[in-house]
Amino acid sequence: MVVAIGLLISASKDMGTYSSFADARQSDKKVKVVGQLAKDKEMYYNPEEDPNYFSFYVKDMEGEEHQVVLLKAKPQDFELSEQIVLIGKLKDDTFIAEDLLMKCPSKYKEEEISLRGSL
C-alpha cells in the first residue's frame, strides 16, 4: 500500500503543465505550450531544403508571439488549426518543437453544408 502510494506520487511528478512562452524561457526542460497560429505571419516549409524543418509563428495564451520550428514535416490542414499544443523547448528566441497537437474544427465540417455539384 505504501509502495503503491509512493509510486503514484512519483508518477504525478511526470505530469506536465500547460505553459506560456514566458514559462518556457524559465525552464530547461521540455514543456507544453498552448497557443494559436499567427495566421498573418509567414509559414515556411520547403522539403527540398529540409524535410524536417517547418517554421511558423504562434501566439500563446498570454499574447506572446514566437517563431516556432517544428522538426517534422508540415502537418496536414495546419492552416485550419484553431489551437496548437507545442511540445519542446525555447532556445534563444525560437521555440523548437519536437511535436505538436492541433485542434481542427473543420475535421468533420460540422456546420457547413456542401451543395451538390459545387467544387
Partner: protein, 942 residues
C-alpha cells in the same frame, strides 16, 4: 409565418424511428422492472411464471426495437436521405457501399446502438438458456440497456437540457442555415460522408469487436451483482467464468485490433502510443483479468470471493468511465481519436455515478456476509501468488488511470472553482510531455512481476497440496526455467539490444516465463491437453513482451542520411523524414531507395518506392517495392489521408509512410497561391537563341508542330505547337530538356507548361504563341513545282529534295478510311541562310475519286508544303510551297525560376524487428482465453 412545405422529404422513417427509440426505452425499463420483481419474488419453488413471462416479453420487444432502429438507420443511410442529419453527416453519394457499416458506427448514436445490439444478443443467449441466473442477470442487462437507450432518446426538457441525442433528427432542425428557406433544399445538398481516415476495413471490423468486448463485460458485472443480490456468494462463480473468459478474449482482441489498425493504417509509427483512448480500453481488460484470476482462486479454494466481486464490478464501471472519457470531449487536448462532443457529458457522468453507487452499495451491504476463510495463506500455494498477481494487475490499472484522468482532474478543479468563485486554472495539469517513457517506466515492472508470477503460480498447486513430495519437482522446474531462460536470454540478446538494465530484467523475466510455460505445457498437459488455455495465454504474454522489447526499443528509423543538418536541439533527434526525388536513388541505412512513379486509382494515389539492399560485392541481397499512398477528397483538391505501406518479414517489418508531398499536390488552394507567387518573365525567342537567366542558361532548339506531354492526346484538327529547349546550370555539363506546348482545339486553348525540376524552372507559352505559327492559308503565296524521286529543286533560296514516298500514310490530321489511296512524301528542306536540314511529310490521298491533300509545316523554317497531285505515268509528283510571312517573328517564352519541385515525396521509413512476436503473443493470449472459455463452458472442472 406560413410554414414551408419542403419537397422530397420523407418524414415517416423518422417518426417511426422516434417511436421505436421510445418503445425500446420503455420495454427495456419494463423488462428490468419485471426481472427485478421476478428475482425478488422468488420462492423455493422457483420463479414466478407470470413475471418471468412479462420480463421476457418486454426484453423481446426491446430486442425488436433495437434491431428495427438499426434497420431504419441503415435504410435512411443507404437511400441517402439527407433530410436526416445522421445520414447527411455520415454518408455521401460517393461513399462505397462496403463502408456503410463504418459510416453507421462512425457517429456516437450508431456506436451506442452497436453496443445495445451486442447486449441484446448476449442477453438473448442468457434468456434462451433459461437458467437459474436468468432473472437477476437479465435485470442488470436490461437496466444497462435502459441507460444506453436514454443516450439516443433525444428528449428535450429545456433548450439547454436534453436527454440523449436521437439519430433521427432532421437536418433542418439541427442547424440554422439560409438554405432551409428553400423548399427544394434536399435536391441541392450533398452528404458529408465518412471521414477518409476511417475508410478502411479496420473501421469495419474493429468497432464491432470492441463493442462486443464492452457489452460482454456487462455479463460478469451482472453475475457479480446477482450473486450479491441473491446472497449466493459461491454458486455464481462457476457460470460466470466462461463469460468472463469470453469477455477478456473478445475485449482483448478488440484492443489488439486497435493496435493493428494504428500500425497498419495510421501514422502512429507503432501499435501502442499510450493514447488516453487506448489506455482506457486497456484498463477494464486488466481488471477483468484480475477478476478471472480471483474467480479461479475462489472456485478452487474459497478465498478471494470479495476480490472477484470487486474486480468484476469495477471492470464494468471502468468501461463506462472509458466511454465517458472518449465521448465527453474531456480528452480534447490530449487524444488524437476521441469522438466529437455531443452534449451528453452530464448524462455520461450520471451513468458512471449510478453504476458505481449501485456496485458500492451492493458490495457494502453484503460485505460481512461474504464468506472468507480465516486460514492463513501459505507461500507455497498457487492461490497466494495468483492473488498477488491480481493485485499487481489492479495496481497497473490504477497507475494508468491515474495519469489518463488528468483532464478529468482539470474539469473537477474548474467545477470547484466555479462553486467557490475562483479561477482554478493554475491547478491544471497536462499529460506527461513524453507519455511513452512515463507509462513504460512503471508498466515495465508490472510486466516483470506478471511474467514471473505467471511462471511460478503455474507450477504451484492450489492449497499447496502434497507440498512435501512436490517440493523437489518444483525445484526441478525452476531450475529448467532458469537455465532455459538464461540460454534464451543470451540467444535473444544476440539478435536485439536491450539498452537499459531495466529492459534486460524484463527480457530475463519474459524468457524465464517462456521456458517455464513451455515446460509446463510439455510436462503437465500431456495427460490433460484441455487445460492448455492458461499456459498458452501466459506463454503468449511472455512472447508479447519479447516482441515489445524487440520492436519498441530496437525500432530503427531508416529514413535518414548522414547529410542531414545537425540537430537544432542537442538531445533531440526527431528528424525522421527524408526527401525522395522521382527516379533518383537515395541511400539510407543500408538501402538504396528509389521513388519510381505514382499511379492514381480512384481517389487514391499510390507511390511506387523500390528498396534494394546490396552487399559489399554489389550483389542485391534484398529487394522489394512498397506502395505508401495518399487519398484525395472527392473533388481531388486536397489530400485527406495518408496510408502507410509495410513490408512484412518473419523477423521484422519495414514500415513506410508519406508525410508530405509538394504543397500544390497536398492542397489545390496552396497550389494556386504558389502559382500566383511564381515570378514569371517573358522572353522573345527565336530558334538558336540562348537565354542567360539568374540560375540557368536556356538554349532554344526548335519550334515544333507537336506537343509531347503525357496529358495530351492529339486529335485531328488540333493545332499543337511547342518550343523545345535545353537548359543547364552555369558551369555544369548536363543538359535538361523541356518542351512547353500550346494546343488550340476548336475555340479552346490549352497550355502545357514544362517543368525542369533539377533546375527549378517552369516554362510556358502564353496564348499569343499561336499567332506566330498559325497563318491563314489565304495569306500564303504558294508556288507550284514538281519533283521526281531523288530529285532536288531550289525555290526562293530553299532546297527541296524528294527522298522517298511512303504508302504508310501518317499525318496528325488524317484519319484513314477504307478504300483511301494515300501517300506520304518525305521531303528534306534546307534554307540557304539557316544551318541544318529539316524533313517534312505532306500527305496526298484520294477518297471517293476526289483528291485531297494535307500540308506539312516547319515553323522554324517558315515553310508550308503541300503535296497536291501525282502523275503515275511519268512518276512525277506535284507540290506547292509557301514561305511564312511571320517566320522571322519571335515567340514569347515565359519562364519562372526557383519553382518548387513537383516530383518529390517526404517519407518516413521505420524498421520494426520482431513485431511478429508481438502479434503472435497477443494472438496466443486471446486464443488461450477462448480455449479456457471453451473448456470451462463444456466440462465442469472438479
Amino acid at each position: 409565418m406560413e410554414e414551408l412545405r419542403y419537397i422530397g422529404e420523407q418524414l415517416l422513417p423518422g417518426k417511426l424511428g422516434h417511436f421505436l427509440v421510445i418503445l425500446g426505452f420503455v420495454s427495456a425499463l419494463l423488462s428490468a422492472i419485471g426481472y427485478l420483481k421476478t428475482t425478488n419474488l422468488r420462492t423455493d419453488a422457483g420463479y414466478d411464471k407470470g413475471w418471468l413471462a412479462f420480463s421476457r416479453t418486454n426484453f423481446l420487444i426491446h430486442t425488436i426495437s433495437v434491431l428495427a432502429i438499426i434497420g431504419l438507420i441503415f435504410f435512411i443511410m443507404i437511400n441517402q436521405m439527407y433530410e436526416y442529419r445522421y445520414a447527411w453527416e455520415h454518408v455521401s453519394e460517393d461513399l462505397p457501399m462496403r463502408y456503410i457499416f463504418s459510416a453507421f458506427w462512425e457517429g456516437q448514436e450508431g456506436s451506442f446502438l452497436l453496443w445495445m445490439f451486442w447486449h441484446v444478443v448476449l442477453g438473448g443467449i442468457i434468456l434462451l438458456n433459461k437458467g437459474k441466473w436468468e432473472p437477476p442477470v437479465m435485470a442488470t442487462i436490461a437496466f444497462v440497456e435502459v441507460i444506453i437507450n436514454s443516450m439516443i432518446i433525444g428528449v428535450y426538457f429545456t433548450d439547454a437540457f436534453k436527454l440523449g441525442s436521437s439519430p433521427f433528427l432532421l437536418l433542418r432542425d439541427t442547424m440554422d442555415a439560409p438554405i432551409f428557406n428553400n423548399p427544394d433544399y434536399l435536391s441541392m445538398i450533398q452528404g458529408n460522408g465518412l471521414n477518409p481516415l476511417l475508410q478502411n476495413y479496420w473501421m469495419t471490423i474493429h468497432p464491432p469487436t470492441l463493442f462486443l468486448g464492452f457489452a460482454s463485460v456487462t455479463i460478469p458485472f451482472s453475475f457479480a451483482l446477482a450473486g450479491l443480490w441473491m446472497k449466493e456468494y459461491k454458486s455464481w462463480l462457476k457460470p460466470v467464468l466462461p463469460w468472463a473468459l469470453f469477455s477478456a478474449g473478445i475485449l482483448g482482441t478488440g484492443i489488439v485490433m486497435g493496435g493493428a489498425w494504428a500500425y497498419e493504417a495510421l501514422n502512429f509509427g507503432g501499435y501502442w502510443a499510450w493514447d488516453p483512448v487506448e489506455n482506457m480500453s486497456l484498463v477494464p481488460w486488466l481488471i477483468l483479468l484480475a477478476g478471472i484470476h480471483g474467480n479461479l482462486i475462489a472456485r478452487s479454494t474459497g478465498y478471494s470471493i470479495k476480490a472477484t466481486l470487486f474486480f468484476y464490478l469495477l471492470s464494468f464501471v471502468l468501461i463506462i468511465y472509458s466511454t465517458f472519457l472518449t465521448r465527453s470531449g474531456v480528452l480534447g487536448d490530449e487524444s488524437v481519436h476521441a469522438f466529437t462532443e455531443m452534449g451528453l457529458e452530464w448524462q455520461l457522468v450520471l451513468f458512471i455515478l449510478i453504476f458505481s453507487a449501485l456496485s458500492t452499495w451492493m458490495l457494502a451491504r453484503r460485505w460481512k456476509q461474504i464468506p472468507a476463510p480465516e486460514k492463513e495463506e501459505k507461500l507455497q500455494t498457487r492461490e497466494f501468488w495468483m492473488f498477488i498477481g491480481t493485485l499487481i494487475l489492479l495496481f497497473s490499472a490504477i497507475l494508468i488511470t491515474f495519469t489518463t484522468s488528468i483532464p478529468v482532474y482539470n474539469k473537477i478543479f474548474d467545477g470547484i472553482g466555479f462553486l467557490v468563485g475562483k479561477d482554478m486554472s493554475h491547478l491544471h495539469r497536462s499529460m506527461p510531455v513524453d507519455p511513452e517513457p512515463h507509462f513504460n517506466r512503471y508498466q515495465l515492472w508490472i510486466a516483470v512481476f506478471v511474467a514471473f508470477l505467471s511462471s511460478i503460480a503455474q507450477v504451484l498447486r492450489y492449497g499447496g497440496r502434497s507440498w512435501e513430495t512436490y517440493q523437489r519437482r518444483l525445484a526441478g522446474h525452476l531450475l529448467i526455467s532458469t537455465i532455459g531462460g538464461i540460454a534464451l536470454f543470451i540467444l535473444i540478446r544476440l539478435w536485439i539490444d536491450t539498452f537499459t538494465w531495466q529492459n534486460a530484467v524484463l527480457l530475463g523475466a519474459a524468457t524465464f516465463a517462456v521456458v517455464s510455460n513451455v515446460d509446463y505445457i510439455v510436462r503437465f498437459l500431456r495427460a490433460n491437453w484441455k487445460s492448455i488455455g492458461s499456459p498458452m495465454a501466459h506463454l503468449g504474454f511472455a512472447l508479447m513482451l519479447i516482441g515489445v522489447l524487440a520492436s519498441g526499443t530496437n525500432k530503427r528509423t531508416i529514413s535518414r542520411n548522414e547529410f542531414a543538418q545537425a540537430s537544432l536541439l542537442d538531445d533531440v533527434d526527431a528528424r525522421n523524414n527524408i526527401v525522395l526525388i522521382q527516379g533518383k536513388p537515395m541511400f539510407m541505412e543500408g538501402y538504396w531507395v528509389t521513388y519510381r512513379k505514382d499511379t492514381i486509382i480512384g481517389q487514391t494515389r499510390k507511390f511506387l518506392v523500390d528498396y534494394k539492399r546490396v552487399d559489399p560485392d554489389g550483389d542485391t541481397v534484398e529487394a522489394f517495392t512498397l506502395l505508401p499512398n495518399v487519398m484525395y477528397d472527392k473533388q481531388f483538391t486536397k489530400v485527406s489521408a495518408s496510408n502507410p505501406d509495410t513490408k512484412h518479414y518473419l523477423g521484422r517489418d519495414i514500415f513506410s509512410y508519406i508525410h508530405a508531398l509538394p504543397a500544390a499536390q497536398m492542397d489545390a488552394e496552396e497550389g494556386r497561391k504558389q502559382e500566383e507567387n511564381l515570378d514569371f518573365h517573358d522572353y522573345l525567342i527565336r530558334p538558336g537563341d540562348t537565354l542567360t537567366l539568374q540560375t540557368a542558361a536556356v538554349v532554344i532548339d526548335d519550334l515544333v508542330m507537336q506537343v509531347r506531354d503525357p496529358e495530351y492526346d492529339r486529335r485531328p484538327g488540333d493545332l499543337a505547337f511547342s518550343v523545345s529547349v535545353k537548359a543547364r546550370k552555369p558551369g555544369q555539363q548536363e543538359w535538361h530538356h523541356a518542351a512547353p506546348g500550346l494546343v488550340a482545339r476548336q475555340a479552346l486553348l490549352y497550355r502545357f507548361p514544362a517543368q525542369v525540376n533539377d533546375l527549378n524552372l517552369r516554362l510556358e507559352l502564353p496564348d499569343d504563341g499561336l499567332n506566330r505559327v498559325y497563318t491563314p492559308e489565304d495569306s500564303l503565296a504558294y508556288q507550284a513545282f514538281t519533283l521526281q524521286q531523288g530529285e532536288t529543286k531550289e525555290i526562293d533560296g530553299i532546297v527541296y529534295q524528294l527522298i522517298q514516298l511512303d504508302r504508310i500514310a501518317r499525318h496528325p490530321d488524317y484519319i484513314a478510311e477504307e478504300e483511301d489511296v494515300a501517300l506520304n512524301a518525305i521531303i528534306t528542306v534546307q534554307n540557304r541562310n539557316l544551318p541544318g536540314i529539316d524533313t517534312l511529310r505532306p500527305l496526298f490521298f484520294i477518297r471517293g475519286n476526289i483528291p485531297y491533300h494535307l500540308k506539312a509545316y516547319s515553323p522554324s523554317r517558315g515553310i508550308h508544303l503541300r503535296f497536291t497531285n501525282i502523275d503515275p505515268v511519268s512518276e512525277t509528283f506535284y507540290f506547292e510551297a509557301a514561305v511564312d510571312p511571320d517566320m522571322n517573328k519571335p515567340v514569347t517564352l515565359r519562364i519562372a525560376e526557383r519553382v518548387p519541385r513537383d516530383d518529390l515525396i517526404v517519407m518516413e521509413v521505420i524498421e520494426f524487428p520482431g513485431i511478429n512476436l508481438f502479434w503472435l503473443g497477443t494472438v496466443m493470449m486471446m486464443a488461450g482465453l477462448f480455449l479456457s472459455m471453451y473448456t470451462r463452458a463444456r466440462k465442469p472442472i472438479p
